[in-house]
């Protein structure tokens, strides 16, 4: 077989841009989905049944759709629905956020529910409002407890961003596949793509393991 690995070097600029987009997508998605996830969790914990219902429907809807479908849907349906023409990057970001927010809200819900009721009572007994108890007492403890889960979500997300390549967001997967179709170097480009994803993902996975060890077992 005739292999030519030089194509990867030849198109290094494009691949590097793809890496930047992938990292940017991951960071932005998480930066939006953590606070949004807390928001949806608060809806689900609300005293008002209507807000609880909204939170529940959101989570059950977006958690149970394939991410790739969400990506396509955001690309083709969203513009028709609300007459909003977003760039492919923004569209991909929306799809990722919708999905990850649903997961994060469930993670936060589990974390908040794991903090014993006595802590809430102690806050209330001081005269705090329910919101103050949540903000000062429960959330900081819950956040620490779910940090390992959020870290795992992060690593999954890093790889899942590749799904937005189907709507021509210039992420790493899209860039690599572009090079592949321009040069017909299928095996080389898929291997290079795998190597780049792996070498970026592996340290993150190790970091997650470390976070698990450090925070996973504490009180």
């Amino acid at each position: 077989m005739n292999l030519d690995w030089s194509v990867a070097w030849q198109y290094r600029g494009m691949l590097a841009d793809g890496v930047v987009v992938t990292i940017l997508l991951t960071v932005l998605t998480m930066a939006i989905s953590v606070p949004a996830g807390i928001g949806v969790m608060l809806l689900r914990q609300s005293r008002f049944p209507i807000l609880r219902a909204i939170g529940l429907v959101y989570v059950e809807f977006f958690r149970n759709l394939p991410l790739i479908l969400l990506v396509y849907w955001s690309f083709y349906v969203l513009p028709l629905l609300i007459d909003l023409q977003l760039s492919p990057f923004a569209t991909g970001l929306v799809a990722l956020c919708l999905n990850v927010t649903a997961y994060n809200s469930e993670t936060f819900r589990a974390g908040v529910n794991s903090i014993r009721a006595g802590q809430t009572n102690a806050g209330l007994a001081l005269g705090m409002s329910r919101w103050q108890v949540m903000r000062k007492v429960v959330l900081p403890q819950a956040l620490r407890r779910i940090l390992p889960v959020l870290a795992s979500t992060w690593v999954s997300l890093f790889k899942d961003t590749s799904l937005v390549s189907v709507i021509a967001v210039g992420d790493l997967a899209h860039a690599a596949l572009q090079v592949r179709s321009q040069t017909f170097r299928v095996l080389e480009m898929l291997t290079v793509m795998a190597l780049i994803y792996w070498s970026l993902g592996y340290p993150q996975a190790k970091l997650v393991d470390w976070i698990h060890r450090k925070y996973g077992t504490s009180e």
């Binding site: 102690a122 209330l124 007994a125 001081l126 103050q132 620490r144």
Partner: protein
């Protein structure tokens, strides 16, 4: 136990010149089919130390939790400062600010230092400045004998130290009434004394205290009034001298004898 003389405080109930600060009128509380409180009536005067005693599950802690609305009441009512306890969340907060509570399991906030545990209430609820809240927290930690532990996290403190921080946290709100829910039950025997000493000191300063306790020596020496619970009812109440030396009720005698208490 015979060496202990009843405190002069418990010879007579605090004068009725002032109306009682907390009044329970036929309080009923149910959890599903279980009736935790079945018509409890009692009152607490300002400056008094009222001790709630009785077997586990007899309703003492439930009554305490009804006092600051951590539990709602299903029948009867609780009056605080001559007014029935409010029903809305925001009014409830105003009442809770005026009561301090100390829990069996301390319930310190584990992500805050001792000092932060004590200052978070005034800062969050009363809008105190960070500086004044810190100064006051430090003074309160001094008071409970933990000035050098200000920067320690709860998990590095002994049970007795944690409970003293919890007392300081409750005092930081400058409460009119302190509620103690079995404050020494989760403690190692050797640290019970340090917590009881702080409570005794508070009592001597004139703090109004409602104390659920199994520490009969404390109830007898520091209490002004003792209320004996059984099966969600008050079976007897009176000054410690009555309860511990010549109880009127056979069931009081029985309960105390189970604790191997020899008047």
């Amino acid at each position: 136990m015979s060496g202990m003389e009843p405190n002069a405080r418990d010879q007579a109930r605090k004068s009725a010149a002032e109306p009682p600060v907390v009044v329970y009128e036929g309080v009923v509380k149910r959890f599903g089919d279980f009736t935790a409180l079945n018509g409890v009536s009692a009152s607490v005067n300002r400056g008094e130390v009222v001790c709630l005693i009785g077997p586990s599950g007899s309703g003492k802690s439930t009554l305490l939790r009804c006092t600051n609305m951590l539990e709602t009441v299903d029948g009867g009512r609780v009056l605080f400062d001559d007014a029935p306890l409010p029903t809305t969340e925001s009014e409830a907060r105003r009442v809770r600010r005026r009561m301090g509570m100390v829990f069996q399991n301390f319930e310190l906030f584990p992500h805050m230092t001792a000092l932060e545990n004590v200052s978070v209430g005034p800062q969050t609820v009363l809008g105190a400045s960070a500086r004044s809240a810190r100064d006051r927290a430090q003074a309160l930690l001094d008071k409970v004998g933990l000035s050098e532990k200000a920067d320690s996290y709860p998990n590095t403190l002994s049970g007795g130290q944690q409970q003293r921080v919890a007392i300081a946290r409750a005092l930081a709100m400058d409460p009119e009434v302190m509620l103690f829910d079995e404050p020494t039950s989760a403690l190692d025997p050797e640290t019970i004394g340090e917590v009881l000493n702080v409570m005794k000191q508070l009592a001597e300063e004139g703090m109004t205290m409602i104390v659920v306790t199994h520490e009969m020596a404390f109830a007898r020496r520091v209490g002004n009034w003792v209320i004996v619970f059984d099966h969600g009812r008050v079976i007897e109440q009176g000054p410690p001298a009555q309860i511990f030396e010549r109880p009127h009720e056979e069931r009081t005698r029985e309960f105390l004898s189970h604790l191997a208490w020899s008047g």
